[in-house]
Amino acid sequence: MRKLKRLWGNIPRRARIGINLLGIVVLAFEVYCFLGCPAFTLEQNFRRAEKANLVGPSEILAVYEPAGSDYEHLLVADDGSAVIFYLHSGSLYSSDALYYREKTGDLTVLAAPGIGYFPSDKYVLDLPIFVFDNYPKAVRAELEFTLSETVNDVYYERTFQLESDREEAGWFHFNIRMESESWYVDEWGWEHGTRLGNEAYLLYEFSYMCGYRDSFNLQPQPVAVRLYDEREELILDETVQVRCAKDMAHREREK
């Protein structure tokens, strides 16, 4: 040990600094590996998730930064036959989620996973909805759908009418924001939404359809889509089904 110490002492100071720096680099790489080699960019994260899910490679269409949510980014990508929603948490301690949804012919309506959050004492839900289409002449789109649910023998129903101008070729983007200010806590500590809260829940459930596992008890949701050209003439009026797990299982079985 003393010999080793003397040998180390005989090494010039700058060389010792170099050896220490080399050790730091090697150990830093080891720490990086043990931490699961976190990616440095959102795209790198997404590409890795694609490979781990054996999907893609796809074209990234858009990236959204939902305010106040647990997720930092919502990334939308398209691999030609399917759409990928990627929720990126941006944390080492919570996992990301990747949803792979095959398109349904020339017109596909998909709600991205709902992003809900609680700023102060209200509940806010941002729900991005996308329509992927093969109608290049269409410059404006309208959506109409009715969500309903019976909770504790009380029937809730709401019809949503949305419209959007085309920003990018191949798809339209809609966004619903719903705020509920009237949550209350009962004597047992359970939180309940009032009418507004339940409507937000309807939307949340609608967005569940993106993740088949979560939507196993839901039925396919009809959505009316109307596309207009530059002269404001209607070029398509069609009702499409937003797929849910049962629908998907049936399709898988038929393959």
Binding site: R13, R14, R16, I17, N20, L21, G23, I24, L27, A28, E30, V31, C33, F34, L35, G36, C37, A39, R48, A49, K51, A52, N53, L54, V55, G56, D79, S81, A82, L98, Y100, Y212, R213, S215, F216, N217, C244, A245, K246, M248, A249, E252, R253, K255
Partner: protein, 275 residues
């Protein structure tokens, strides 16, 4: 005399190191200079020179400490000293971090639970004799491989057990398990997530739904399982076929076919060990 020498030589050394601004270097240089002076002094004494003369000659040979001091200060610049100390501290910290990170990783890799819970479902059944009589129908090592996106998949084991329950009101149970080892040499590849979309079909046309859709088709045959980290760069998919219905089939194919992939791993039900 020793004390006297100690005093004069050390005084010389202290004046020589006075301009060195890195304290740990001051001690080291002082020790080195002092040892060098004593060596010189001893050599003169051995040559028959008197004590006082040897001391004087030694100090004379060393020169003026004020002249040497700036040169020593230049050689022992504090920047390099502090940098060496900084790298030492950084190395120690990152070593601690590496050990801290390695422990759970190694624990997950080499430790899969307490012994009382560690049975091998491919060698033994979890159903006790008191509950039912379980017989091994098939045990095989298919050794089927496939590759996609840098992941190398190997179907390593499969086992099929038939249980006849003591309680006649319970229907017989067929348990079919298979294990897929997934290897990827890239440390950043991470955990394979595609296993939830594996589906299966047998030679009779029976279809097993992917795990991801199991809630929607509860009660129907399905591919179920979980994924755990079993070795460096390797994950093990421990899977089973729920509601097994391929008793008369010759083979079962495990498929993955999303996004243009076409992975097929076949389990031959006609060979292997049986009870």
């Amino acid at each position: 005399m020793a004390n006297y020498l100690n005093y004069s030589f050390k005084t010389w050394c202290l004046r020589a190191i006075a301009q060195i601004r890195f304290p740990p270097d001051q001690d080291a240089v002082m020790a080195e200079l002092y040892a060098h002076m004593l060596d010189h002094y001893d050599a003169l004494m051995e040559a028959g020179v008197g004590r006082e003369e040897a001391e004087r000659r030694t100090l004379e040979a060393m020169g003026s400490p004020e002249e040497i001091a700036p040169q020593l200060a230049a050689v022992h610049h504090p920047f390099w000293g502090w940098l060496l100390w900084g790298t030492r501290i950084a190395l120690a910290l990152i070593l601690c971090a590496a050990v801290f990170c390695a422990v759970p990783y190694l624990r997950n890799t080499f430790y899969s639970g307490p012994d009382w819970n560690r049975y091998d479902p491919y060698e033994d059944t979890y159903i006790s004799d008191e509950v039912g009589v379980t017989e091994l129908v098939l045990r095989t090592e298919p050794d089927q491989s496939a590759e996609s996106d840098g992941f190398h998949l190997t179907l390593t084991r499969a086992a099929w057990w038939h249980t006849d329950f003591v309680d006649d009101s319970q229907e017989d149970l067929d348990t079919f398990r298979f294990q897929i080892r997934v290897f990827n040499p890239r440390p950043w590849a991470g955990r394979p997530e595609f296993y939830e979309w594996l589906w299966a079909e047998d030679s009779l046309g029976n279809y097993y739904y992917p795990f991801y859709l199991d809630n929607a088709v509860a009660g129907d045959p399905g591919v179920t399982g979980n994924c755990y980290h079993s070795a460096p760069f390797t994950y093990t998919l421990d899977m089973w076929l729920s509601n097994f219905c391929s008793m008369d089939a010759d083979w079962i194919d495990i498929h993955y076919d999303r996004s243009g992939r076409d992975i097929v791993l076949r389990i031959d039900l006609t060979g292997g060990d049986g009870a």
